[in-house]
Symmetry: C2
Subunit: 195 residues, 2 copies
DNA sequence: GTTTTATCTGAACAAATGTTCAGTTAGCTT
DNA sequence: AAGCTAACTGAACATTTGTTCAGATAAAAC
């Protein structure tokens, strides 16, 4: 056999990335073999190399795409308003977006150690840029006297870490709805940076 | 060659666990081979099997030991006092303890997916018990009207997630001292659960 | 309908994996 | 000093790993 019926790179490519995303998130990058990914797509391992030069590139591309999507989604989301409204928007956006793409978020946070120095820096730059968005809001709020934090950089990291915690316990159809979770976290964040 | 000079299980055992801890934390469980651990100790791979029945048991034992140490250290730490003082004690304890054993903490949070169902439950029970300690303090505070949170369970998880975030950025000899970091986080936690 | 191009197979490769074990030597006991 | 036990080596094992590539077939272009 060789080329299979209905085969098309526009279909196989995304399916490979989707399978890799799910498997990397579930078992970890190092624990997943190229053959497992291929089997998930219904293809032989060799075929993957039409879509990625090697295994690590597959991981990096997934991370990079996620970080770019995240930044684009946030840029698209922003609403004008006072700093409090913008902080609330950030909190709700972050929770909702991260829960919708929990696999990608998980990978982007957990698999950094499997990256080469160069790739690590690329991804880390994206993350810092995202954190800077939140820190910018906090800085403004502090300048206006609406917020009070001892250190805006640390506060931004603390807030993001707190919000990311949702990933470890939230399940669809659980005790709390997505909106309830958002409101609950927003309540804590709001108070934590209050004057 | 066979038994080597100065070899003793009281020495080799701990060294194996220490090497495994460091390597698992740095590269991930699946990415570390038994031969790498052995090389780190200065021993052949086969010798490891005098100390563990298999690779996963090595991981589980490290996790279990960490969780037990954590619980014991907290039990040993507790001071009498009002709920606010006890919450502060928890925050400072958690930050300090986790930074001192960041490798173990990292592993206990990241490698759960490499466990069998049975082992997963064992470790997860420990974590829940630890989280319950914090939730207990929050519940008491809410009952007394000193704290106000919409949901003590979620609040406990949120606080712990926030504190764990320290691990991702804190470095010895950095801009902030350990005590400064503790105080900084305590400030945010205190406000986040305030009435 | 024929040629060209895109896509995949299937086999192969060397290297690395977790684990076992017979054999060997160091340390301890008597 | 002799015997016993604890600790380790070194080689072997069956699998699995990431990756390559010649060949085969489907889809697209002409």
């Amino acid at each position: 056999m060789a080329r299979t019926q209905g085969s098309h790179s526009d279909i196989t490519g995304p399916r490979i990335r989707a399978a890799a995303l799910e498997l990397f998130a579930r078992h970890g990058f190092a624990a997943v073999s190229m053959r497992q990914i291929a089997a998930h797509v219904g293809v032989q391992a060799g075929a993957l190399y039409n879509y990625t030069p090697d295994k690590q590139s597959l991981l990096v591309d997934l991370m990079q795409a996620h970080m770019e999507d995240l930044m684009a989604a946030w840029a698209n989301q922003q609403v004008a308003g006072d700093v409090v409204a913008r902080l609330e928007a950030f909190v709700r956006f972050h929770i909702r977006y991260n829960l919708e793409r929990s696999d990608a978020v998980f990978i982007a946070y957990m698999e950094l150690r499997n990256l080469t120095e160069e790739n690590f820096i690329r991804i880390e730059d994206h993350r810092r840029a995202y954190e800077d968005q939140l820190e910018g809001i906090l800085k403004e709020g502090v300048a206006e006297g609406v917020f009070q934090v001892p250190d805006t950089k640390i506060a931004a990291l603390a807030v993001i870490a707190m919000l990311n915690g949702v990933l470890t316990w939230y399940r669809d159809g659980g005790r709390l709805s997505l909106t309830e979770v958002e409101t609950l976290y927003w309540d804590m964040v709001r108070k934590s940076v209050a004057v």
